[in-house]
Structures are given as structure tokens and as C-alpha cells.
Amino acid sequence: MTSPRTAVVVGGNRIPFARAGGAYAAASNHDLLTAAIDGLVARYGLAGQRVGEVAAGAVLKHTRDFNLTREAVLSSALSPTTPACDLQQACGTGLEAVIYIANKIALGQLDTGIAGGTDSASDAPIAVSDPLRRALLAANAAKTLPARLKALAAIRPGHLAPETPRVVEPRTGLSMGEHQALTTKKWGITRQAQDELAAASHHHLAQAWSNGFFDDLVTPYLGLTRDASLRPDTSVEKLAALRPVFGGPDGTMTAGNSTPLSDGAAVVLLADAGYAASHHLTALARIVDAEVAAVDHPAGDDLLLAPVAAVGRMLARQGLTLADFDLYEIHEAFAATVLAAQAAWRDDDYCRGVGLTGALGEIDPARLNVTGSSLAAGHPFAATGARIVATLAKLLAERGTGARGLVSICAAGGQGVVAILEAV
């Protein structure tokens, strides 16, 4: 598939990811996204300039955030004439925003754009209970004082407890971890393999930080200068000591091999290749292709394995095989998710079952998440896509023209968003 124009990644910026209730406990999604945009603006000298469009989103949103991205743009150093829109596709939000902007660039509708996402598990919207909401509405509508008092009298102490959001699938009532535990067991993913993947994520991320790899990818915020979840000195042995949190007493998924609840934001600067060349914006990698897929998890499909079909369909369209990549970035929702996806790609029956022509094969573990991923960095849901795209684009550019990378992100609702990047 050829595009009339080429969308390239110029660079990215994120703030260090914090643990929920940590350094960003008092910051809102608006604050986090604004900080991420401002860091990008500073890195590329865009202060006061109009960017074609900014697309970003958040998974956990307050009603006041109905125009989150536009409001963040107005708070940022970008020109106030920069338009913006909100997107939301659960954990796929950040990558879907990249695809949205890249497509507009390829179609000639934009020369430049910023894509990304933000999430704050600390500032999650807390709602009042339904009975309390009904009573308050009735009291508000009442015309007389007795009628108003009567309406308020319907409130019981139990109604006053706030309803905090739970990350559960509406159609199954299961949390994401509970869903993954079913997949983990079904595919026989061992505790050892999960802990090894988690330890590698921490060690890779720690190495990248100490090498200065993130000097031009991350801007400190509110005193936090590194990802707060990172444990450079963790080990398979230490991780083995943790108790299972999903899958019952004999489960294999622990707090150590599952992503922590996180706060953070990330953005990517995209441009048309020609525009970038004439405006002193060094292109790192082009967006080659992207695909989304979904599974029927209410009917029993593995909730987080939609990327399997998405990758298969995208490779077929591009005439590529799973082995044709220099680097793989598979979002670590859980260590077991990454391992189950690889097992599924190897499984001929599974691949045929999701409409592919056969198994996709193996990926080289040495090319997987080479600077760590969500287990170590943390996973502010909507921010992860932009974190990965910026990181991968830089890694590919370091490897030289033509280096190719695969991004795979699973998302709530049984969805998967994937993309191919290639160094220019």
C-alpha cells in the first residue's frame, strides 16, 4: 500500500511515569498532558507555533475533561490556534492517536501533528452512588421546601459512599487481571517465564536510563526524574517471592509481573517527510502501516490476544513475516500477555481460528522490548502508545535506514492496536 505522502516520527516526549498516589498524586490529566506537550515543544523549539492538530486521550476521564486535549493545548506553550481532539480506545488510545495523525498527514490534511495520551490512576473520577444522584436531582427539581426536604430524606448513609471506578470488563464482570489469568492458565505460561520477562523489563529500562537513552525522550515533572516503578536491582529470585494476585492461590500472576497502576503522559511529534526535511525536523522513522482487531471475549475469547489477528492481517497486507523485524515492542500489560501472544503467534490452529492462514512463527527475544516496557516503566493507560512509538522510532533510527519495528498493544474491550515503523 503506498501513500501519497509519508508520515514520519520526528521525536517524542513523556514525563517520568509515577506510581498511583505518588509524585503526581495532586496532578490532573490536564496537568500531566500539558507537561508532556510542553516538554515536546521545548525539545523541538515549537513555542508559540501552530501545530496542525493534537490528538490525545485518557482512559480514566472526569466529566470536566470533555475537551481534555484542547484544554491542555491552551495551557501549553503551543500557539492557542492549534486545534485538538480527544480520542479513546482504552490502552490503545496513544497508538490510535498516532495512527489518526499519521493518516491525516499521509492524506495531505496535515503537515505536522502531535499524538499521545495521559492517564492518572490517582485522579480517577469518583462518582456518587445512583440513589444519591437521584435524590439530589429530585431535591433540585422540587419546587417547595417540604418537597425538597422529602427528596433529601430518601438519602441513606450507604448512599454516601463514593463509587470508585474499577477496571472491569462490563460484559464479563472480570477485571483485566482475572481475564489474563484465564489466558495464562490456558496457554500454560509459567511463573518462571513471567518473572524472567519482568526482570528483563526492569533491567533493560534501568540500562537505558543509565545510558542516557531517555535524555531526549523524557522531561522530569514535579521533581520526578525517573520512572517510579523501576526496580533496577530486582531479580527473578526476588520476583519469585511475591504472592499471586490473580488466578487464585495457585495462580502465577503477581504484582511483580503485572503492570502497576500509574500516572503519566506521553506525546509524539509527527510530520510529513517533506515538510520535516524543509523545516529542520529530523525524521526518525516512518509509520508504515497499522491495524486494529478485536476478539469476542464475552463468548470466551482471550481478552488480551486481539493483537494476534491484528499483526497477522497487517503482515499479510505488507507481504512481511513476523521474523522480518529488527525490533519488537509488545506492551507488557502483564508479562503473561506478552508470552501468551507469542505462544498464539506460534500456534497454527489459533492463528487459523482468528482468520489467518497459519502460524506467524517466532520472534527473537533479544529484539523484544530492548529498553524495557510497561512492567518496569509503568502503564498510564492512554500514554503507553506514545511512549512506545517514540522509544521505538529512536531505537530504529540508531540502527540505521530500513530498520523495521513492530508495535503491538492490547486494550480493554478485547481489542488490539498494532503498527509497523521503519527507520528513514
Partner: protein, 453 residues
Amino acid sequence: MGVLEKVFYSRPGQAVATRAGLPEPPVLRRGTTWPQHQVVLAAHGGSRLAADTLALLGVATGEPVVDDAGGDHAPGYGGRIGALVVDATGIREIAELEWLRAVLRPAVRSLEPSGRVVLIARGPADVAGLEARAVAQALDGIDRTVGKELRKGATANLVQVGQDVTPAALASTLGFLLQGRSAFVDGQTWQVAAADAPATSEPPLAGRVVAVTGAARGIGAAIATVLGRDGATVVAVDVPAAGEGLTATANRVGGSALQLDITAPDAGERIAAHVASRYGGDARLYGIVHNAGITRDKLLANTDAGRWQAVLSVNLAAQLRINDVLLDPAVAGGLAEGGRIVGVSSTSGLAGNRGQTNYAASKAGVAGLVRALAPVVAGRGITVNAVAPGFIETDMTARIPFVQREVFRRTNSLGQGGQPIDVAEAIGYFLDPASAGVTGQVLRVCGQNLVGA
């Protein structure tokens, strides 16, 4: 703010302090402001240098009142004057110093708050004969003493001009001195040499890329602000951990941020690469301001190798390495011909300071580097200078205990600490393309601190 400090700055506290001889210091005139009242020009022996320079600057001048009688009572101006510019380039004999006394005496009593005395003369190296050299040095003594006697924020400074200095080469210096930009420069002497200086322009740094290290906060952030005002495209550099402040600085001045540890072996290459990548393959850096610096204070008796190494590495070794790279004409994004290198020394380096052996070594080293490098790159039109700040009100000095801090900030001729912008303005003066004749200079921005030369 401690309890003692709160009491001191309360209304009754200030009343007591004033009676105790610690009056509230004057508010200095700052920025690109000219003196409010007339600038008086006194030229000796028909020299036209100062007159022509002031004409270039568009400054109208008045005639001096001269104390011809030299008796008990000097004649006055009958009002305020904004500045006295003395063209003493023709003075060679001790007897001619009497003329200087006669023009200074009426003026010093009439200067407006934040007024200026500017002496322009030949330096000892530019005159022949024992008496002329002695006289040239005598002017330095007069300058320093007038600086100490002036009140209400007025300053005195001496500019030693080389033989063939043209009004164009002197204009940026005289403009800096008369304007509020030189607010905290007092009692200083420095040299301006002959150079093919372009006319002063506004804004002076338009279209020029200047890198500032340590730009996240304090003096570095003020430098970025001033350079932004002067039209420069600022590349704000600081360690990655300071990225939040760096972002704010870069976005405020419409520049770009480069998170970089200047002690990294490839720091120079990365600055150059940033310039070439952001501003075009043929873009070159016009100037670099080596402002980043750290302190690791301890008495020498307690100074370990780590504290020694860290300070010398950041404050001195890093800029040597970076200069080497940027001065290579083959490096894309390196320093342009006719470019500017500005270091930040310190009065602690020039005078020594208890508990700061490592810091003093590094800052005196900066002064040495400036003097050594300036002649080497002079042929390429590149100037190399340094500012040496005295007590400046920053986060760093705010951590000094209150009483000690109050002593530091008052022990100078202006009775107060300087502001970060005062250092920044002096750096902006060095960066001005019109300052082509100013090189190898270490300019103290210290309000004529009692400490040091």
C-alpha cells in the same frame, strides 16, 4: 525565611536597621533604560572619541561644569545630571589629572540615582613613558574611589581603549554602561581594542543561535531571558534532571531545550548536532555561554577527591572540551566565524573564598582560560570573555545563613546583592556583535564588592 530574617525585614525591624546604619538599599535602574537627566560630556584636549561614540548612540550631551577655582566650594549644576562621560584619552601627565578633578567634583554631587560616571582613557600598555603609564594607572585608582563614594545606586567605571579604537568599536560598551543594563557593574576597569565592529543594532542578536548551559533556573534562566529579549534563538542546556525548569525557560524565550550533562565526553558534539538538526544543516552557533556550575563547599582540610573532581569537571574541564569541538570549523553546528564564547567566573575565584578551594580553582581557571583563548581565536573574529559575579540573589545564595548573607550582600558599593539579570546583561553585552573589540576580558558584576580586585 527564618525568624530573625522576618523580624529584620518587618517594618519596625527596618526602622531599627536604618538607625543602625543598615538602610534599605536603593532600587537600581535596570534594563535598556537611559539616564533620566542629561548626559554631560567632558573631553580633554579636543578628543572626539567619546563625542562621536555618543553621537552614534544618539545620546545628546551637555557641557560640563568645571571647578576651575578649586577652592572650598565647587560650582554646581543647579540640578540633576544623568551621567558624566569623561574622555581622558589625551591625558598623559600628572598635572593633567587636575582637569579630571575639576570636572568630576561638580558632577559627583549632582548625579541622579543610578547615575553614571564613565571614564574613557588609554591603558598603561597603550601609552609611552613612565609618567604616562603611572597616570594611566592613577585613573584606575580614581575610578575605584569614585565608585565607592557615589551614592544611591550611581556607578563609576573606567574603559581603557586601545590606540585605534573607533566610535563604532566603543559604542556597545558605552551604551551598556549608560543604560540600566550595567546596574551592578561598579568600580571596574576593562579594555576595548580596535576592531571592525558593526554598528549597534536593535535587537542586537536577531537571527543568531546562542547556547546557554545551566539554563534551567537562576542566573542561567535570566541569561536566556535577556538573550531572548535581545532577539537570540536560545538553545537552553541543562542536566536531564533539571528538565522541568529547562522546558519552562526554553518555552518562555521561544528557544529549544537540550537535556545534556556537559561533562559527557560528547557534550560538544551533541550541542553542535542539536544546532544543526534544529536550525538547519548550515546553521552555526553564534555564541555559547558556559554558565553551568556547581559548588561542593568545604574547608580545604575537609575536601575529598570527589568534591574536588566534581567542581573542576563541571565548572572548568567541560567548557574546555566543549570549546574544542565547537571551535572546529568542520563540525556542523559549531561556532561561527565572528562568534562569541562567554564564561562565568566568580569573585570567589578572583579573590579566593574560605571553604571554596575547589570552586575558586575552577572559577579562576575560567578567567585564565578566557585570557589564554582570546588571542588564539582573535583572527577568526571570535571573542572570549567572562563575567565574574559577586553576591547575586539566587536559590544558591538564599541557602547561606541569614546574617552571613546580609553581610555578603551589603559589603559592596551599592549596598545590596545583585540580581541574576545583572549578570545576564553583562553577558548580553559581550555577545553583542558590536562588541567585537571586547575580548579577553573578565568583568566583575559585583557592585564593587570589597572582596577581591
